[in-house]
């Protein structure tokens, strides 16, 4: 039996991260939740996930720094999906320039997120 694919979720909204954890674990993934960018980087380095979901605005280290760390320091090509609030279009462009693969604007549909995750992890 193949091991469940690991996803690191970096999101400071605990209610949203609980919802997404529930939803994605129902789809057979293993969710590792980080409440801030610093924790996210630690988890990524320890667990080497197959996918990273990250918010942009987070305490300590932002989502952009997480992406930069993964692409430039760890030299990994792990697929990254970025969440952005309305009005953060410039940040989303920066995220893509740093190497993010996809983005979802908030508010987003969890069902749509699952479709995008499945597509990236095919």
């Amino acid at each position: 039996m193949s091991e469940a694919k690991k996803i690191v979720l970096a999101e400071d909204n605990s209610t949203l991260s609980l919802l997404l954890k529930f939803r994605l674990e129902k789809e057979g993934y293993k969710l590792l939740v980080a409440a801030d960018g610093k924790e996210a980087i630690e988890l990524i380095e320890e667990q080497d996930p197959e996918l990273i979901l990250t918010d942009i605005m987070m305490p300590f280290i932002s989502g952009l720094e997480v992406i930069s760390h993964v692409r430039n320091k760890l030299k990994k090509q792990t697929p990254i999906i970025v969440f952005s609030a309305a009005g953060q279009e410039e940040m989303v462009l920066k995220a893509f320039n740093l190497g993010a693969n996809d983005f979802m604007g908030k508010p987003f549909s969890p069902n749509e997120l699952v479709i995008r995750v499945k597509r990236l992890l095919r």
């Binding site: 909204n13 209610t15 949203l16 609980l18 129902k26 508010p107 987003f108």
Partner: protein, 369 residues
């Protein structure tokens, strides 16, 4: 004992001012000690409070997630969902817990869309939280009413439109602001109908907030703004001018041109700016013919309009004003002349020996404006 006696003798024998200083110092020292003890107590209390809030938040988060995933296709509300609703109803009776439940629901509702967001909305109704928000509307305390309206806005409760719209001219500006945001957030451009009946002042900040909300809607079709341009409430007129500018309401040009004779100078100036933005050529001729009767601010605004809509036929008018006493008008006139008749512009070099004129001329000659 001897040292105390020494201190007492020292104080008794000191001049009155030294005694007063010592007494004040002791008094402030005691106050500081009391405050430090109080701050420690307060900090401990707040930290305990935070722990209690975090504990309840975690509990209500798990209720919420369980509710969202406990539904089935056979029933509208499953047994598990009903259990969660009953638990939340009991908790919601306590104001402290109710605040945490509402904030938990909102934290998720603001981040997700689709059927999950609709389910959260349903839970807000089923758990009876909407009843508490509605009861706040009847409170005698203005801040309770304002908070109630804000909660109903956040949860998109459209059914209470009639109860809220009657507060549009409430004496408290905080309530009026919440009413306006409720109407516009939930009813989009249709919600602006409150401007028909608004008798109180709509501040600049209120206007900015309304425009901020409006710009996010996909359907950017504005209703007819002519009645607002003719309003007796000057702040409504100002806001309507902003709408005309941002949403390019060319069809309202006649109503905007009527504002060129409004009794308020600031509205007349705003109207000129909007007409310039909309490129209304008729306005240019009207203002040019009445130029000398305009106030200085209107004259400056007119020249800004001319910078957008100049024609070669404006040359004599511009030439007549290159040595005008006002700096902005001189600058505008020379700028426009340089654009469409560079030879004429160059010939104006010696027209005046005023240092200000010479400086403006040199600046325009050497810079691309």
């Amino acid at each position: 004992m001897e040292s105390y006696q020494y201190l007492i003798d020292y104080l008794k024998n000191s001049p009155p001012i030294i005694q007063a200083v010592w007494i004040l110092s002791c008094f402030f020292f005691i106050i500081i000690v009391i405050l430090i003890i109080y701050l420690k107590y307060l900090r401990g209390h707040l930290r305990n409070n935070e722990k209690v809030v975090a504990k309840y938040q975690k509990e209500y988060e798990s209720y919420l997630i369980s509710y969202l995933y406990a539904g089935n296709e056979e029933e509208e509300i499953s047994g598990e969902q009903q259990t969660i609703i009953e638990k939340l109803k009991i908790s919601a009776a306590d104001i402290f817990k109710r605040r945490i439940i509402v904030s938990t629901l909102l934290r998720l509702r603001n981040e997700i869309s689709g059927e999950m967001a609709e389910s959260i909305q349903k839970l807000y109704y089923q758990s009876g939280l909407i009843g508490y928000a509605l009861s706040r509307l009847k409170s005698k305390k203005w801040y309770v009413v304002a908070k109630g309206i804000r909660e109903l806005t956040h949860f998109h409760v459209k059914e209470v439109h009639d109860e809220i719209v009657i507060l549009v001219n409430h004496p408290k500006k905080e309530i009026r602001k919440e009413v306006q945001l409720y109407l516009v957030t939930l009813f989009h451009f249709e919600g602006l109908k409150f401007l028909d009946v608004l008798q109180t002042h709509l501040s600049e900040w209120d206007q900015i907030q309304l425009l901020e909300v409006l710009q996010h809607f996909e359907n950017q079709e504005l209703p007819n703004i002519n009645p607002w341009l003719k309003s007796t409430n000057d702040s409504v007129v100002t806001f309507a001018l902003k709408l005309a500018k941002i949403y390019n309401q060319f069809e309202a040009k006649d109503a905007i041109m009527e504002l060129l004779t409004h009794q308020q100078k600031i509205i007349r100036v705003d109207a000129i700016h909007v007409l310039s933005n909309l490129q209304v050529v008729e306005a240019k001729d009207i203002l040019k013919n009445n130029f000398d009767k305009l106030s200085l601010e209107e004259q400056i605004a007119f020249f800004k309009l001319l910078e957008n809509m100049y024609e070669t036929s404006d040359e004599p008018f511009l030439l007549a004003h290159v040595t005008y006493e006002n700096f902005e008008i001189k600058l505008s006139a020379l700028k426009i002349l340089k654009i469409f008749n560079i030879e004429k512009f160059k010939s104006l070099k010696e027209i005046s020996s005023e240092p200000e004129f010479i400086r403006i001329f040199k600046f325009i000659a050497h810079n691309q404006l």
